[in-house]
């Protein structure tokens, strides 16, 4: 039986592994694999957690109170909840440096998507123009992944931007505020579409609206933000569990892969990995190697491998990430109502904004505020806290935020390289990102347009509250080892096989030649399954 070694247990790694196992390969996975604590009181709702636990603050704020966002210490509206902090735990061997890019790495079992917001947005033909395949080639894999992880959504006004694939479950129950926004959109659809180029519809999420195997449908417990206690929200560790039930799957947890080594023929022979317990570096022999540790992790491993092999420090060009804006809004029609704790907590609606060309599409996610902690919001009001609490009580159900995503393109001045230093044990990853020309103007125009749209929906944006997230914050990294039909160095083929190392495949976002304005996780999974189907 042919053996394939996969590095990384994120969405790309596990869906590659699952597809390869189904084709009869033996799969070994090398992974750091930090694991979460078991879920606390899985049957309790959000409010029952507050009333039922002996130490609710320990759960919601962390035992070291690290979940409290103190004034002056936090630029973002929200941080990572303590129950998901394991997904941000780092390893000592990865050092990075950048003056304009804030990278996020995860070494969790399941990768960064263990803390995702479950958005599943397939790329369409226009967004796949730079890819060496079209939507039709990817559609079977979208459907396969959807059938495996469970995605809800429907064919609505966003279908022109979000292709409708097989395997969609019916949408989740809408919360009252989202339903109100959708009704207002329905009454102004023509104006919004024709004058403002705005299309509103249901979000697509990897959340079960009906039972699937052992996983139960969403119970609307309101605990999404702290990690779904019943696995109704999909995370890649579920697919890893599925792989581990196969006799042909071997999981080497507790290892951080630093580089691979090659023979004289250029074939990858082994992967070198640091054990987390501090023992000797271990060499894993390799027949076929698949890098799936996220675009940045894969790039670091690739650069370090080349450096150790040849002494050359290469520069990978074309780093991409979605610029994101957060646009908070207030809906006066919801003032004085009780917010709904018993609802799905992440975005339930999406807004598609048309651009001059299909690639210019802007994707927005609309989240109405429910069980998220209140103190970071109250602190930002230009009021004393007592008045702020009074205001919050009355407008809590009326608040929401639009997360605006912009596309990105590969550009030569966005780079990754190594600083090997003198005598350093492990080279430092150096990132440099230069925003595209005209970005500021594009952001201004989009904010103006979005404000008009929100007014049409009966909402307004409080002055001074629009927040441009720093580069790196969207965590949709891509483009550093892109697919290329021509066999150029530091690129991969349409099947994601390296043009430099014949038995090396890259199954994550590093191979994406264009980054649409969408969450890429679903496409990462589908493309990884496609690569597994191509492998020989």
């Amino acid at each position: 039986m042919k053996r394939i070694t996969v590095i990384g247990s994120g969405p790309s790694g596990v869906h590659f592994a699952r597809a390869a196992l189904s084709r009869g390969y033996a799969v070994e996975m090398i992974d750091v694999g930090y694991a979460p604590s078991p879920p606390v009181s899985p049957d309790a709702t959000f409010n029952e957690i507050k009333t039922g636990l002996d130490d609710p603050a320990g759960y919601l704020l962390g035992t070291a109170f690290e979940g409290i966002l103190l004034p002056g210490e936090q630029e973002e509206f929200y941080g990572v909840p303590p129950s998901k902090a394991y997904a941000q735990r780092q390893v000592p061997w990865l050092q990075t440096r950048s003056r304009n890019f804030a990278p996020m790495f995860s070494f969790a079992r399941g990768g960064l998507a263990e803390m995702w917001t479950a958005g599943c947005y397939p790329f369409n033909d226009a967004e796949l123009t730079a890819y060496p395949f079209d939507y039709a080639a990817l559609a079977p894999y979208y459907a396969d992944v959807a059938g495996n992880i469970g995605i809800n959504g429907e064919a609505d006004d966003l279908a022109g931007f979000l292709p409708v694939h097989d395997g969609l479950q019916e949408p989740l129950r809408l919360d009252e505020h989202s339903a109100l926004l959708l009704n207002r959109y329905a009454s102004k659809r023509e104006y919004l579409q024709q004058i403002l180029g705005c299309h509103v519809g249901r979000a697509r999420q990897a959340v079960l609206s009906r039972d699937m195997g052992e996983r139960k449908a969403c119970r609307y417990s309101g605990r999404c933000i702290w990690g779904c206690p019943t696995d109704s929200i999909y995370t890649p560790s579920l697919t890893l569990d599925e792989c581990m039930r196969s006799a042909h799957f071997t999981y080497h947890g507790g290892y951080y892969a630093t580089h691979f080594s090659c023979g004289d023929d250029g074939q990858v022979r082994a992967v070198c990995a640091q054990p987390l317990d501090g023992g000797e570096v271990r060499e894993f022999p390799v027949d076929t190697l698949v890098l799936a540790c996220g675009a940045l992790g894969t790039s670091k491993l690739y650069l370090e491998s080349v450096y150790r092999q040849t002494g050359e420090v290469k520069v990978l060009r074309g780093l991409m990430d979605n610029r994101q804006l957060l646009v908070p809004f207030l809906n006066p029609g919801m003032i004085g109502r009780q917010y709904q704790a018993d609802s799905y907590q992440y975005n339930q609606l999406a807004i598609g904004l048309t651009g001059d060309t299909p690639e210019d599409y802007v994707h927005c996610l609309v989240t109405t505020l429910k069980t998220a902690m209140q103190h970071p919001v109250i602190e930002r009001f230009p009021l004393d806290l007592r008045t702020g609490i009074h205001v919050m009580r009355n407008i809590h159900a009326a608040l929401g935020v639009v997360n605006v995503n912009f596309h990105d393109t590969r550009r030569d001045d966005c780079t990754l390289t190594l600083d090997v230093g003198e005598g350093a044990d492990s080279p430092q990853l150096v990132l440099d990102y230069v925003p595209p020309a005209g970005e500021q103007e594009r952001i201004k125009q989009t904010v103006r347009r979005l404000k008009k749209i929100l007014r049409q929906l009966g909402c307004f944006v409080p002055p001074g509250m629009v927040h441009t997230r720093p580069m790196g914050a969207s965590v949709h990294y891509a483009g550093t080892l892109p697919m290329s039909v021509e066999p150029r160095p530091m690129t991969v083929s349409a099947e994601c096989r390296s043009h430099d190392f014949p038995n090396l495949y890259i199954a994550d976002g590093a191979t994406f030649p264009f980054l649409p304005a969408k969450n890429i996780t679903f496409t990462l999974m589908a493309n990884a399954a496609r690569v597994a189907a191509c492998i020989d």
Partner: protein
């Protein structure tokens, strides 16, 4: 007075200011634990910062005046940080749910009316606090921690 007793008094006064009620044992114990755990972030960093905290501990009404002043002129001061810490603990405690989450029954007009009154009060308190505290802040220097006001 021991540090714990001092923090418990502080917690009671701040709780009365924030939500009009004395805190339960759980909130008190959590607050003491949080201030100890986050000592570096919650301790005053200048003499003016220390003064704000001392004044705020005297009475809930003074806490309010100091808070409204700090919101605009010392937003990351120790007093603001401690109040936010207590607020975060209170919102985690199920026994306080109603005080933080139940909307008034007055509807939108009632909310707007209430806000007009509260805004007027805020302006008055801010003006008084500015008269007293601004000259002191200008003389003693700004708190070390700060960020642009909203």
């Amino acid at each position: 007075m021991t540090e714990r007793a001092e923090l418990l008094t502080e917690c009671r006064i701040f709780s009365r200011y924030l939500v009009d009620t004395d805190p339960g044992n759980y909130v008190c114990d959590s607050y003491v634990a949080a201030v100890r755990q986050l000592r570096e972030s919650l301790s005053p960093t200048s003499s003016f910062d220390r003064l704000l905290l001392r004044l705020a501990r005297l009475h809930p009404l003074i806490t309010r005046s100091v808070d409204v002043y700090a919101r605009f002129f010392a937003p990351a001061s120790s007093i603001r940080r401690r109040l936010i810490t207590l607020l975060a603990i209170i919102e985690s405690d199920g026994t306080m749910l109603d005080r933080l989450e139940r909307p008034d029954q007055a509807g939108l007009p009632g909310f707007i009316g209430g806000m007009l009154w509260r805004s007027l009060l805020l302006v008055v308190l801010l003006s008084i606090a500015m008269l007293i505290l601004l000259p002191v802040q200008l003389v003693t220097g700004r708190p070390a921690r700060g960020r642009p006001q909203a």
